[in-house]
């Protein structure tokens, strides 16, 4: 079998790429894609730990399943907000949505 740390390295790399996407892209949709990548990296981590340390317990699987729910909710609401901001301000760049700034 592949040792656990290899999965962790892949997951860390995925997380870093996700971070880079979130930080460097100016388009809100692309930023959300980065967030999806990061959530996915987290999920790989959880499943890997579950498989290697407690495969007979159901916790890891359940946790990963709930993360799917959260990722979906995040994408749904996040994209809806971006669409609204775009319709109102004709911009998809998160920093330009500053109506609430004092």
């Amino acid at each position: 079998m592949v040792p656990l740390w290899m999965y962790l390295v892949v997951s860390a790399a995925l997380f870093s790429i996700g971070t880079f996407t979130v930080l460097s892209r100016r388009n809100g949709v692309a930023v959300l894609m980065g967030v999806e990548l990061m959530l996915n990296a987290v999920n790989i981590n959880i499943v890997a730990f579950w498989r290697y340390t407690a495969p007979t317990e159901v916790n890891g699987l359940a946790f990963a399943a709930f993360i799917f729910v959260i990722a979906a909710a995040e994408a749904a609401v996040g994209l809806a907000i971006i669409i609204t901001v775009y319709r109102n301000r004709h911009s998809v760049i998160p920093e330009e949505a500053d109506l609430l700034r004092g």
Binding site: W5, F20, E36, A48, Y52, P55, A72, A73, L79, I82
Partner: protein, 176 residues
Amino acid sequence: MADVSFSIALAFVIFSVISLGGALGVALNRNLFRGTIWLMVSLFGAAGLYVLLSAPFLAAVQILVYIGAIAILFTFAVMLTRSLTQVRERFTRVWANLVVAVLLFVLLIIGIIWPVWGSNPDLAQPVSDVVVSTTDLGVALVDRNGFVLPFEVASLLLTAAMIGAIVIAREADDEV
């Protein structure tokens, strides 16, 4: 047994490359629709990793939820928010962010992963080949002492997300 470990390692490498390559595609591609496709490639690779980790249920769910639904949602959003003049998107502070990301990666590796788990010989192999089944997951999800509360809260979260997103998006529709 040697053959088996070799094919598993090979599959691991292939799926890791697919996953990371797709992620790089997302990060570097300037065309958002292609970015969505790259995201799906990446998540497909992750689904392969789930299979290798003996969680085929999660792999199928990954394909179903991400490629079946979230991809569609992203493409819709890309079409709905396309900038009228520029198709290609810009980046900000690429080099600084690249340094941050690489630093994060290196820190994660040498700071946490290698010292804690890499040097631990116990974790080179899974502790057991027995893996819980989808049935066990189903039992635990509605068990009084298990996950029944998160189970219902998840439903509530989805309901809230759906209503919230409809409210937000509907207002946008009224504007036009």
